[in-house]
Structure formats: structure tokens, C-alpha cells
Homo-oligomer: 348 residues x 4
């Protein structure tokens, strides 16, 4: 008999938090033990998120709770800078931690501090923390105590670029990712910029001169090349709620046909349950993966020029956050990796 995993969620009043709850409620091996929120202690979670009515009978508890230490796994769905303060205590107590924020994603603490604008509370744990992109590091995840769950953009971009870099067929000095995200990527905090009245019926690039996911992506890509990549990353805001589409551009180092490129992707991901390589010249749409832990990829080589184009879509809250976190939990707990993650995308 497989034991039940006792789970705690810290910071669950945001979008990643409610998405973790949605997915964990029907996870057959999980018992949700504690859901914390400093601001909402005592509130029924289902009153706060009425989509959970009839599914969850728990109230928010305070973050510094004995309950957390009793958990087998604790997820942090908190703003950056919060998890790093509590993780050491939990690890000492034998709790496994999966951090959906950025606190443990960057190995070089000076780079982290430069991009996140604060001092790191436990830099000594950065070395141990395992970057949780299962398709490119499943073995380390299985043995980890602390997972840095990848950012949403990095998930979409890395899954698209890595097969090409691993195969050594593209020029690592001229990589471009033009990425687009829905509103939920900005979180569930009051802000003018993500009001319906501001971002509805409009489209824009933002942080074109520098976004925090740039060093994260570079760090991973650099593992597969000899000298640091030349990588340009421009994120954009789409007036939808969920979904990331990344259009990736790279130059072929030598002649490789579209069929060969496609075959490379198919082969690399053939046993992956959560990466789906579409036929060459397809166009994945973010709605094809709405609500599910899946990355759909397609490759193009326009006009047979030497530029290869990879289209990558994910749901930023699932494969880009909560779903991938649960995938990591399954691996860490030696469960079948797809447990609780076999939903069908909501279309239309």
C-alpha cells in the first residue's frame, strides 16, 4: 500500500496556490494538511476561492504553524523572498520543500541578488537546491530535499531550445525567445498595470531590456554549451488569463532538414508524458493546454532558410508552476510521475 503524502501549502491566496489546491484535491495519494495565509487566518479556503466549494473543508492557518513541520512535502507559492526564510527550518525537520518562487533558482547568489534586489537569506542552500525541470534532470529531482520549481517562461523556453543545443546543431550565440504570457503570470495582487481596463484589448512588450527570467534561462542553457550563450529574451503581455506561448529563433550551424529537426524533438521527448511534439509545421495554441500539465512543441524552418523556429506553449499556472511542482513531488515521492496530472485541457 502506498502511503498518503501529507502536504502543506504556504501562501495559497495567489493563483499558483489555488491551482495547487485544484490539482491536489483529486490527487489520489495526497492529503492536504495545512493551507497557510498570514492575512486570511480562519477564513474557509472555499469562501476565498468559491470554485473549491463542495471540494475542500479547510480554513487558512498561520504560516508559522506546527502543521507545516508535520507535513511530508511543503509547497511555497509565495512572493519572492519569503520561502528562503522558512526553508532551512523545514528541511531540518525532515520536510521536503518545493518552492514555486524564484528563491532557489539561481546558483550564483550575486546574480540572484542583482536581479531580485534583496539579500539572500540562506545562500548555503543554493548549491543543494535542485532545479525542477524533470525532462532535463529527473534523477537529481528524485533524490532532492529542496526543489526550485522553474519559472513559467523558462519552462516554455528551455523545453524548446534544449534539444537543439544538446544536439549541437544551432549557434548558441544568437538565440532569441519572443515570449507572451497571460495576466495570471503577474499574480493576484492589486496593481494598475494588470487591470482589465489597462491590459484588455491591448498588447505590449515589457521588460524588453531585462527580465528576471533571463539569467534563469541562461543558466540552464549554458549547461549544454561550451561558452555562455548569447540570448535575447523579450516577454509580452497578452490579454488572456492563462497561457504562455514562446516563439524561439535560432540559426542552424549546418544543413539539417526540417524533417531531421522534427525527428530530433520526437526522439528526445518520446517517453515524456508532459511534452507533446506536434507534427512539423503545426501551430500549438495556448488553449490546447489550458489547465493541464503539458508543453506542446512544433518546429518550422521558414522558406528553408537557416533559421529554425520552435513554437512552445504551456499553461503558465500548470506546467509553468503548480502542475510541474506536483510532477516534481511525484518524482521525489517515487509515485508514478503522472499521478493526479492526467486531466484533459478545457477547450473551448
Amino acid at each position: 500500500m502506498i502511503p498518503i503524502i501529507k502536504v502543506g501549502i504556504v501562501g495559497s491566496t495567489g493563483y499558483s496556490g489555488v491551482e495547487l489546491l485544484r490539482l491536489l484535491i483529486h490527487h489520489p495519494q495526497v492529503q492536504i494538511q495545512a493551507i497557510t495565509s498570514r492575512a486570511e487566518v480562519g477564513t474557509q479556503v472555499a469562501d476565498f476561492f468559491p470554485n473549491l466549494r463542495k471540494h475542500l473543508d479547510l480554513a487558512f492557518v498561520a504560516p508559522i504553524s506546527a502543521n507545516l513541520v508535520d507535513c511530508d512535502v511543503v509547497f511555497f507559492a509565495t512572493p519572492n523572498g519569503t520561502a528562503m526564510k522558512s526553508v532551512p527550518t523545514l528541511l531540518k525537520a525532515g520536510v521536503k520543500v518545493i518552492d514555486l518562487s524564484a528563491d532557489f533558482r539561481i546558483k550564483d547568489v550575486s546574480i540572484w541578488q542583482q536581479w531580485y534586489g534583496m539579500e539572500h537569506a540562506c545562500p548555503d542552500l543554493l548549491e543543494e537546491a535542485v532545479y525542477g525541470l524533470p525532462e532535463w534532470g529527473r534523477e537529481k529531482i528524485a533524490k532532492a530535499r529542496l526543489i526550485a520549481n522553474p519559472g513559467c517562461y523558462p519552462t516554455a523556453v528551455q523545453l524548446g531550445f534544449l534539444p537543439l543545443l544538446e544536439a549541437g546543431i544551432i549557434d548558441p550565440q544568437h538565440l532569441i525567445a519572443d515570449a507572451k504570457s497571460g495576466a495570471s503570470g503577474a499574480g493576484r495582487k492589486a496593481s494598475v498595470a494588470t487591470l482589465m481596463g489597462e491590459m484588455g484589448e491591448s498588447f505590449k512588450a515589457y521588460n524588453a531590456s531585462g527580465h528576471r527570467h533571463w539569467p534563469e534561462i541562461c543558466q540552464t542553457l549554458n549547461e549544454y554549451v561550451k561558452k555562455p550563450v548569447g540570448f535575447t529574451f523579450v516577454p509580452h503581455l497578452v490579454p488572456i488569463i492563462r497561457g504562455i506561448e514562446a516563439t524561439l529563433y535560432a540559426n542552424l550551424l549546418h544543413e539539417v532538414s526540417l524533417e531531421e529537426i522534427h525527428a530530433l524533438f520526437v526522439q528526445r521527448y518520446q517517453n515524456e508524458p508532459f511534452v507533446d511534439v506536434l507534427p512539423a509545421q503545426s501551430h500549438p495554441e495556448t488553449r490546447y493546454v489550458r489547465g493541464v500539465n503539458m508543453c506542446q512543441l512544433a518546429v518550422h524552418r521558414p522558406q528553408n532558410q537557416n533559421t529554425v523556429v520552435v513554437l512552445s506553449v504551456i499553461d503558465n499556472l500548470v506546467k509553468g508552476a503548480a502542475g510541474q511542482a506536483i510532477q516534481n513531488m511525484n518524482i521525489m515521492c517515487a509515485l508514478p510521475e503522472t499521478t493526479g496530472l492526467n486531466g484533459v485541457a478545457l477547450l473551448p
Copy 2:
């Protein structure tokens, strides 16, 4: 051991069809046997609806297929006027039929013909057909061979009005339903009116002088009153994809407090798995039920005047179509009513 139900779906290239597939794929007692489409014979269903990739390995077959006769249950997700041509044959073969179109919803064939503008192909079956609103007729559904699955607007409106009419506390001569539907209610056929460029960033009433769901709603409401109701129904188009909100207005016949009205709803629906009565003065949102078979209701009595306001939300494709159809199937097949229907709504 519970036997597996062999299911066929006719007309599955539309939104109700793909929603049936999404829900049935993970229904533990169902085996999808045949998916028909005249236009797409031979096409992999998952190529047509890429959200089904990795979940479904079936191709569309022709509608007039021996496969259908082998099924235990056949769903029609076809345009109005199609099901009535095939249903007699299937019933004779012992197949149970659940029709998501309007062909068997109206008992009076002359009224049907007036509103649907065609001759009925099998008026003799109208008497036998059971209107599939489980909360108000579960017993008949359990014994039925042929279910007329309710319209989307009627589901939202009837679930809100019926407790009040049954209790006899409102004036049946002045009932108003101001209802709003997302774009998927208009189906997945090419049309100018439902282009993004036409209905995006806009809002309108339509068919204010007469909509086909008016006689359907009247027929049900009339069962609970002595003389025919006076009912005004104005539908509106909201630039969202899924969701219906109906705001219902009725005049109290005598003094009943808001607390009493709320208690009436709570009591009437307390054992219903798919109707959720919110606290009085709540405001259900369509997103609270996105993707799930649920109707959320809330009552108001503004300024303590004699008008009672009921707010009712459903997902038009689930409780308003495919989900309710599966709920009916479960009842007809003596399965627990919630089998395969226990998802959590996708929020945000």
C-alpha cells in the same frame, strides 16, 4: 462488478461534442465506442481537437454506422432537426438516447414546429421523451429510454425559479429572466455575428422579442402553477467563451424574509450534488463553475422591497449541456450520479 457502458457520440465536431469527450475520457464506467461526423470521416479526433492528444485514439466514423447500434447509450450533439431522424431506429435497437439538441424538449409539436421552423420527424416520441433536469425529475429519468437534455438557458433559469414557484410565494404572472451567455452557446459554426471582431469588447441583448428557450422554460414552469406563467426572457451575449448568468426577478405574493427565502433554497437543494446555494446576498460568478457540472445560486431582496432576485450561474457547456447529459446517463444506468463529474472549476 459494474459493467462498462459503451457510448456513441453523434455530431462531435461542435462544442458540446468535444466537451462530452473531455468528460467521458475519464469517466471510469464508460468506453467511447464511436464518434461520428459526416464531414470528418477518417480524421483522428485528436487531430481535430488537439486538447485530446495523448488521451484519445479514435477516428471519426460515418453517422450511419453499425457501431451506434452496438452502443448502450448514444448522445446526440447535433444541430436541431438531426437527432429526430435517427432516434427511432436506435430506440428500436435497444439503445438509450440522450439528445442534447432541442428535438424532444417541447411536448406540444405545434409549438415546437412554430419555434424551430421545421416539421417534426417523430412527433409520436415526444410524449415518451423525458426532460432531463435531474433535480426536478430524477425518477422519470431513471426509467427513460430517451432524454431531452435541457437547453442551457432553461437549466439556469428553471433551477432558480422552481423552488419559489413550488413554494407558491411569488406571482407567476410577472416573472423576468435577464440572461447572459458566452460565445460557445452559439456553437462552433462559421458566422459573422460571433466573430471575435464583432462580439469582442461589446455587449448586447439579442432575440429580446422571442427566443426558442422561452417556450421550453414556460413549459417547465407551468407544471408548478395553476395557470400559464407570465414570463419575459431576454438573452444577452457576453464576450466570454463559457458561462451563463441569469438574473431572475419575481414579486413576492406576501411577506417572506430574505432569510426564509434563502432557507427555502438551501432545503430544496440540500442533497443535490450539482446545485450549490451560496449564502444570501452572495454574487456567483461564471468562473466559479467553469468546466464543471454545477449551478451556483444566490438570493437577494434589494431594499427589502417585494422583488426577490435570484442569481444563477452555470457553465453552458457542462451543466447546460454535456455535463448534465452525463448526469442523466449516470441516472439511467444506475451509476452514482456524480460518477465522472467531480472536477474542480478552473479558476482563474
Copy 3:
């Protein structure tokens, strides 16, 4: 020669403020003198609202500015409770004031204080303030020093109900307005409820048990009936940026044909430049009036029952705010009423 009107705008970092600027920039008789904002003193207005680049070369100044006293007309596009503090000073200086907030809309100060939750700073001015709905009070507006510009919902609802009440053909005890507004109605302040992630792809009623525009509408309707109206008002939030649609329901007191009702509206508004009565049984759409100072109305009488339905659409920021304010200014300054307001709606 017509003199140029020197105009000041207080609180112009919100949606009504930028809409006033958009319309006034091309008003041939207006010179924009001062644009105030406590928070943005010194910022170029066109840096704050880049749609004004190449059109406006002014920086925000502090609200307590000598500039305002030099103006002929000052618009307040401020949150409720702000205008009432400055208006007495401006009036004393001979400045005409048009207040787009709610400070002077309600004659009965106790009702105002109950609904707006604060003490009124200058209740003595309430009597003098003129409610600025030109189609129903143009003469008083022409002579006014202080205009209470109507709320957005009240404009749409009153223009639809008043012809029927004036004609005495509907029962004033059972009036219902089911109204829907886009996101800009909630203003341009950071808030969770109007985030794209919260209100996108969803629809809901709000404040169904009581909204501040209810007493404002009642006050106006009561002028046309003998005893206070029985009026139910339920507002809803539509995931669009601009636009209000109000669907109005009333019971006929005696037989009046749809043609007669339509003729009544046509006659009442035949000389009105900013009210457009569509053919009977039409369905106005909010996009038909996007960006323009127009109310489109259409009447229905479904199934020839005794309920009359009026459909009313406006752009909440134009006929529901800034456009109507300029219409009032034109009247106060003896300009042709349409000056600067003859744009064509942006469709699609």
C-alpha cells in the same frame, strides 16, 4: 467672435480625466489651462497617457493652484468626496464647476451620507447644484453655476425609463433595471476585483442588494410620478473596457402597442442630438457608441405580453461621464450643444 473657454481639470489621472482630455483637445472653443494631480505634479500628461503624445504639451500641476481660479470652467474627475471640498472656493471666484463625481447628485443630504459613508462638506450647495441630464433639464443647466454630472448607470437607465413614466403608461411600482458595465466604470485604481485575471472570461452581478446609483435613479424617476417608484436595480460586470447596456422592464398600465411605444420614444427624442431611437425590436450594441456621446435605445414587447422592454446603451466614459460633462459645458457656455462631440463610434 466666440471667446475661448479656459478649462481646468482636477483629478485627471483616472479614466474620466483622460477621456475629458481626449475630447477637449479637439474642442474648437476650449483651451486646456490646468490639469491637476496631487501625485503626478511635474509629470508631462502625455508621458502618463501616451495616447496624448503629439497632442498635448502640459504637465500636471498641484490641485490647489491659482490656475484653477483663472479658469472659466473646472471639471472634477475625482473620487467621491473630493470635489465638495474645493467647489465653494471656485464658485466664489466665479468659476463654473462640472462635477463628474457623486458629490452633488443627491438632493437629500442624509440619503447621500448614508450611501456614501461620509459627511458632506457643503450641504448648502446641494439645492443649487443642477443635475446635468440635458435631455431632461436643459434650461436649468443653461443657468447653472454647479453641475452634478449624472452617474453612468443613471444616464442609461433614466433615458430609457423617463419617456414611459412621463407618458404615464407604465406601473411605477415595478420597475426593473438589469444593467451591465465594462471595467472602466470601476476606475483606474489598483484593485484585485478588476484585475484581468479576476474579471476576464467571467461575468457576475454585484451589489445586487444595493448600489449607490439606486437612490440617484429613484430621485430622478420620482419627479415624474406621484408616489415614490418601486425600483429594482441590479448591476453586473462585463469583461469589456467601455460600455453600459441596461435592459429595462416595466409593466404597461393599459394596452399600448409596440408601435405606439416606439413612436413615443421617437417623438420625445426627435430633436436630441445625443439620443438615437433605433427601429422597434432592434438590439443596440455597446460598440455602436464606443467613444461617442450617444445613447442608443430600442423597445420590445415580447410575446405581446404586458411587459415592455427597453434596451439602452452608452459609452460609460462618454455619455456616462466626460462627454455628457462637455455637453453640459456647451449648454452652460451657450455654445452649440454638439460642439466638439460629433465623433463617429470606433467599430470594430
Copy 4:
């Protein structure tokens, strides 16, 4: 006295057509003479497009109309392949023609036929036709009889790349344009792909392996380089109605600072009324130009690497179609170029 220009519009039931009407109605030097539509002969144009009510009192006439020959200027807002059949007749009659379709955009008839899949009806006119991008060819436009109005994507892309190519500071062999368009770019014809239910709440690339605007853009760019450019173009569909954003990527040939690049754009466009260069590192949004004839540009050089990023936004129906067509008309008719085109963008 400036004479009035008599204008005809062919194919005005689409989005470019109604946008031409919106802009021409208030053009002080234009009289709209004939609006043609094969399908809608006799219908009042304002009944078809109710935003034109109270502004236009004309009915659609048949395309083959004597009226057209009497016009000074005729705009074609027709599907590709229509204008080329009528243009020779009109030119012979001394009418100036501005074609908003693609019929005269490509000089090489074999390339045109390859991409548009039909035979050209008057290839002899291709040489004479002038590509109507005023900022890069005003002189030829002034003398032209026949204008090929640029495509929407090409306008946004060319205005962003040309200053860099003209200055010779980027590598013409690795140009990338990642472009995004709203739904109106697909026109106002019934289609499944642009239904609200299909493209709402979703984002996708399309035609990534080849889009008709690719050869058009290449043709223009090639005029400024020695050997044909290497250009990759991937268009995407955004769930908005109006707006194009193009994010352009190019590699610097040698060190040029961001300030120098910005200065280059400022200088090149300093006298242009319809190109607005934002401060370096700005992020133009499509809503900043909604409804107006403007291209906003901003430049970035992320992480000081050698990739320069240009952000370009237009309203696809204005600077990308109808507005640019009127700008061309003004030039052809020796009017001030901004006549009738000085509107302020609708924000929010």
C-alpha cells in the same frame, strides 16, 4: 479655395471599408460619393454599420456604377483579386485609385501569383503602381495614379527596420520579425478560426512557415541593401480586435550604443506626423494608437549584447489600412498630409 474631393469606396462591408467611412465622414475636403457592395445594394450603410447612424445618409450601390467613374479618388477595400479587374477602367477614366488589397503590392508578377494563387489581371500596371508607404516614398506617391496601400504587418515591420538598414548598422542576413495582430486583421467574413469561441482566451502563431506579407516586406527591405535580406517573419493572433505589435530583432554589425540607435530613429522620423519615436527602452502598447494613424516605435539593446530590438505598434485598420490610405490620398491631392487624420487614440 481647395476643391472638394469626390470619393468612392468599393467593397465597404468589411472592416477596412467601415474604417474608411469613419475617417472620411469628418475629412473636411472629402465628399463621399459612392459606396459599393454587390451583396447589399439598396441597404442604408448606417443600417449595416449602426455606428454611422446620424453621420451618413447613403445606401450601398452596385460596384459597376457610373458613380465610380465620376469620382476623383476610388478606394478598393476588397478581397485580393478584385481591384485588379476594375482598376484599368477607372484609371482610363482619369480616376485615382488607392488599393487597400494586395493586388498591386508585389512588382514581380510571378512572385505575386505564387503567393496569392491566382493569375494577375493587369500585370502591366504593376510597374506603375506606387507602394504607398509615405515615410519612405512620399515623392512618388504625390505623382501616382495608382497606389498599392501597404499591408498591415509590412507597415509595422518596415517602419521599424528601415532606419537601421538605411544606416547600414545591422546585418541584413539575420532579420527577424515576431508580429502579433488582432482579429480584425482577418477581416469580417464568417470563419471558424476567428470565432470568439476559438480565438478568445488563447494565443497562437500561424503561417509560421510562410505568410503573404513576407515577400512584400522583403521587396521593400531589399531596396536598402546590396543583396537580398535574410528575413524570418512569424505572425501571431492576439485575442483583441485592433492592433499590431511587431518585435524586431537584428544584429549590430559593429558597436553602436543604444543612445545612438535611438538618435538615429529620432532624426529619421523627426518631421513625420505619423511616426512617434518613444524614449529608448519604452514599451509602446497597441492601445496607445487605437483608432489613429500613428506608428509608435521604441528601441532596446538588452544586456548590451549585439542584438537590437525594435518595438513597433500600429492600429492595423488605420496606419495599417484605412488611415494610411487617406494619408496617401492627401499626398496625391496636394492636401496637408494630416488633413482628417488628427484624432486622439481611444484609451482606455
